[in-house]
Amino acid sequence: MQFAPIILFVYNRPEHTRLTIEALQKNKLASESILYIFCDGLKTKDNKSEALHNDVKRIINSIKGFKDLIIKERNANYGLAKSIVDGVSYVLNIHGKAIVLEDDLITSEYFLQFMNDSLNVYDGCDNIYSVQGYMFPIETNRKNELLLPFTSTWGWGTWKSKWEYLELDLAEKEVIRNSKYLKERFNLGDYSYSDMLTFENNSWGIKWYYSVFRRNGLCVFPPRTLIKNVGFDNSGTNCNEDTSFNLQKLFNYKTDVIKQEFLDIEVLDKIENYFTMKKKSILKRILEKIFK
């Protein structure tokens, strides 16, 4: 079997990069996977950031344990969005499929297995646009992969044939933002993806989600998370602190990928509620408890 290459995007966080790589090395299929690393160029050159940047470069250049290691150092600062769009397109043109990680994502030992199995099983399925490693902290009894109508940027994979649908211009973003119904369909509960449609700079994930949403596409998710984000410490460029995700435990077991046909509406409902409950006022929650 041809395993999908891994693309890792790094910048100026040596400690996170080290943790991300260590976890990835422990993955069952690491030694059979090619690892591409794109290291972005520095934005501002002062002593402190140059030291961090050099530490990152030292770490990535001494990586062992993969089938092949290909490092691409940018000679200018691309920013995360441009770097990812460019890097993913580059690798997909060579390999046809790829698994994408950023420098603050700790993977389960079974992450690569799940991603590769899903990329193989769903290859050529018209309505499946990507494979995800992250799963929201909700309780389910699911044992296999499941299908949901949105993307996530925390550890994911796709095929060249699907990445070609990426729309960078967000032509109909105002249509979504101006329609109450479309906004609700686009958002996850109170979590306002539609607001992100206005973040023109340095955002690529919302453009990928928009492209999938417009096509009524589905994405493959694991039943429990294979990714833990350790970037919520203000070290990253695009993160705000949010502790609820930090309590999640990695799922360290194999998940059988059985090729689902249907959207998992029970899990979709739970995720929507998860994002709605979080912001509900205490009074509303008490009232709901009383009248349940």
């Binding site: 101006n178 009524n216 959207l263 979709l268």
Partner: protein, 297 residues
């Protein structure tokens, strides 16, 4: 072009069947199309009048050469619309790999067959497209175009063999769609409550067909202006209520250019939701007005 056959399902409405078949025969491709007519039989406990109606229908369907070739299947007993459609579509799609389906109260524009056939060809290999529809709700939209929507319609529609084979018409439908706020919003079009139909008429083939599309997150192709009108909302049909003004008195009489798309027309989809919001607002307004009039009496 390899044209899809048409199936018309008829039962006990000679006048409607006649209008439907007349309109079909005036379609541009009618003289190149194969037509199957499934005529359902009498119910066990039916009256003499019913039997006479069915006889009249059978006279009507044989009275003309509606299309290039006409094959009539007369059932001895009453199968009912749902079983009849599922069996008929399965049989014909097995032979021809694709099919266009009409019921006896669907009057078509003369461009209907061209639109359906062209879309069937253009979207043949786009497996996320489940169905082609000739009907669309009368949304005010300034372009004459094809639009992709996550919806199905039972008023003049078409599909392919592989899509039809995925459709499990005995599927048990999940009640959570009705109970969950976010899922019912996703399932309904604004205040047009598909969830109510699901709960009340869950056994019917068309709500199951829509459920099939919903669960697979697929798409249907629609004209931006309707190519059919439904003449069955006069209390004559088995599954109709006379409570709607979505019948499209005017259907489009010009050719629709078909450009292959792979995305939902979000603008149209938003308009469709607004249409059904307004629809309900208008009805409430009417009710209030009637109440006031009643009080004045």
């Amino acid at each position: 072009m390899n044209l899809a056959p048409v199936i018309v399902f008829v039962y006990n409405r000679p006048n409607h069947a006649s209008q439907t078949l007349e309109a079909l025969s005036k379609n541009y491709l009618a003289n190149e199309t194969k037509l199957y007519i499934y005529s359902d039989g009498v119910k066990n406990n039916s009256s003499y009048q019913d039997e006479k109606k069915i006889e009249e229908v059978r006279c009507v369907i044989k009275s003309k050469q509606w299309c290039r070739e006409v094959e009539i299947i007369e059932r001895d007993s009453n199968k009912g619309l749902d079983a009849s459609i599922i069996e008929g579509v399965s049989n014909i799609i097995n032979i021809h790999k694709k099919v266009i389906v009409l019921e006896d109260d669907i009057v078509t524009s003369k461009h209907f067959l061209s639109f359906m056939n062209e879309c069937l060809n253009v979207y043949k290999d786009s497996k996320n497209i489940l169905t082609i529809s000739g009907y669309i709700f009368p949304v005010k939209y300034n372009k004459l175009d094809t639009v992709l929507l996550p919806l199905t319609s039972a008023w003049g529609w078409a599909t392919w063999e592989d899509r039809w084979q995925e459709y499990d018409h005995s599927i048990s439908m999940k009640e959570i769609i009705n109970k969950s706020e976010c899922l019912s919003k996703r399932f309904n079009i604004g205040d047009f409550k598909y969830t109510n139909i699901l709960m009340k008429e869950g056994e019917h083939w068309d709500i199951r067909w829509y459920y099939n599309l919903f669960m697979r997150n697929r798409l249907g192709v629609f004209p931006s202006k309707s190519l059919v009108k439904n003449i069955g909302f006069d209390g004559s049909g088995t599954n109709c209520n006379n409570n709607s003004d979505i019948l499209n008195d005017n259907f489009v009489d010009t050719k629709i250019e078909i450009i292959k798309k792979n995305y939902i027309d979000l603008e149209f989809y938003a308009l469709l939701h607004n249409y059904f919001r307004k629809e309900v607002e208008r009805n409430i307004f009417k009710k209030i007005k009637n109440k006031i009039r009643g009080l004045n009496k």
